[in-house]
Symmetry: C2
Subunit: 304 residues, 2 copies
């Protein structure tokens, strides 16, 4: 009788972070506070920095796993189901008492301006767990800043296993600082770069991050492109020009594109250009995920 | 063998209008457009002018029936279920292709200012039907302005049956004008009063409505109270002073309280005071319905 060998599932990328449900209202005219206004469209869309990056990677054919938590409200199961339908392994999700992370995002097609009001119960995210075996089965661990304790443990495991650790940081939090020395890649918002470094210019903020924490630092600045500072080079990558409908999730998709390029073994410059094209194409559609492009579409824009 | 006589259900009040699901975000600080802000609370609550008035009446012990339509999205069934749980007969609801009426309402506890972004598919509300037998079984028909054709038919039936017709009008629409001559009671917002009459003062707007259309006209003005003009009298009713958390639905609840008083045979003055107390108590809680008071609570405030 042949022996059946059970091979544990291995992933290309394991993510840890918040997955959200966004209600996107598309403004019909100039929004104003204090009045009652109709919306041109109302769209529900899953979001979250790590979640949307993993969806990007799943669409590009990668095997991805996510750990996180949702609340026991009407949104939680929906958030998980949507991720699963996108091909993300959601075995690491917990449903916990409290509110899921939800948001109302007001999109203004004319200006590209975005207003977001969000809500969650932070206690939902306490106690998320992640197995060392699953983390170290992957080539890259992608983190947000919402579960710093378990993120730190996982980042240490990944460092010991010689895997890559990436972080997506949007706003400065004290609890993020301990994570940064473990990150091979810090891809952060302009705001985070400014807040942590005190430097208004994205290139200066990226230089600060690389000098202080050692990893490759990338500061993203929407239509102004991204600035990358690594051990051997520092460069700016311009953004691609597309017809922007909604920038929601563009930064998250940039991370997904960047991870894809890294895992292909491309140079940082090639990778940053690929990530920029991926993020630009996302902006064609409302919502964080509807516009995520295929590899063919990205290559089409890159070949331009 | 005894003959079983089937008595058709009779209602105190039949309503026709839009039922909604509101997502209420309670601001944490001064809201601003163009940024990302946390909310102190996120509340889901059913709403809609006629729907919330009927819920008020059901809580006060009245038998109420509502006809309307919702979309075939994730919200429609929820809207209907919530009404049914409040004791409203929802046999007259249809589920039709398209979007239910949904809204994001930003409440500011400090100022009482409210911002609402709403969305629906108007086609969902086309083709709502209502049976003459059910309408004329009731003592009062309560209408909003969203389904003017079926509302006009039902109002004519009710007039022929010597029942009462009430309308809740918030913004001026051409299609509302044909309904007004059939309305025994027009309880309208300050805005509607101003738009239809060209008169900025609520009392002047109420006089205009009564003179032009014949029914009793009441213009409500939130914390400034209400102005009533009928065949025999014209008077102002001050608002009650309460600790206002959220005014969402206060006007709808005012209509419910007013209908209750009318059906008790109270004078217009007594009725307006009762409606004002009912609406004021609603403002204690976030959402259109959570704060709807019991008869005991209303009597407590009135005796206060």
């Amino acid at each position: 009788m042949p022996t059946r060998i059970v091979v544990p599932q291995a992933y290309d990328v394991v993510g840890l972070g918040v997955a959200t449900l966004d209600f996107i209202g598309v403004a019909d005219g100039e929004p104003r506070l204090g009045i009652k206004q109709p919306l041109a469209h109302w769209i529900e869309a899953g979001g979250g920095p790590v979640a949307t990056a993993l969806v990007t990677l799943a669409r590009l054919g990668m095997r991805v796993y996510m750990a996180g938590a949702v609340g026991d409200d009407m949104y939680g199961q929906r958030i998980i189901t949507e991720l699963a339908q996108e091909g993300v392994c959601v075995d690491g999700f917990q449903v916990r008492p409290g509110s899921s992370h939800i948001a109302f995002a007001l999109a203004e097609p004319g200006s590209g301006r975005r207003t977001i009001w969000w809500h969650n119960d932070p206690s939902v995210f306490e106690g998320v767990t992640l197995s060392r075996e699953i983390v170290t089965s992957a080539r890259l661990l992608h983190l947000d800043t919402n579960m710093p304790d378990v993120a730190l443990t996982a980042a240490r495991w990944m460092q010991e296993a010689d895997g890559l650790v990436m972080i997506d940081a949007e706003r400065f939090k004290e609890s993020t600082l301990a994570l940064l020395p473990y990150c091979d890649l810090m891809i952060v918002s302009e705001r985070f770069g400014r807040e942590i470094s005190g430097e208004a210019a994205p290139d200066a903020a990226a230089r600060f991050l690389h000098a202080r924490y050692g990893g490759v630092a990338i500061v993203t600045a929407g239509e102004h492109g991204s600035w990358c500072v690594g051990p051997d080079e520092a460069f700016h990558t311009p953004a691609f020009t597309v017809d922007v409908h909604d920038t929601t999730g563009a930064g998250d998709v940039f991370h997904g594109g960047f991870i894809y390029g890294l895992l292909q073994g491309w140079s940082l410059r090639e990778t940053a250009r690929f990530a920029g094209a991926t993020a630009a194409l996302k902006c064609r559609a409302f919502g964080g995920r509807a516009g995520i492009p295929s590899l063919e579409e990205i290559n089409g824009l890159l070949a331009g």
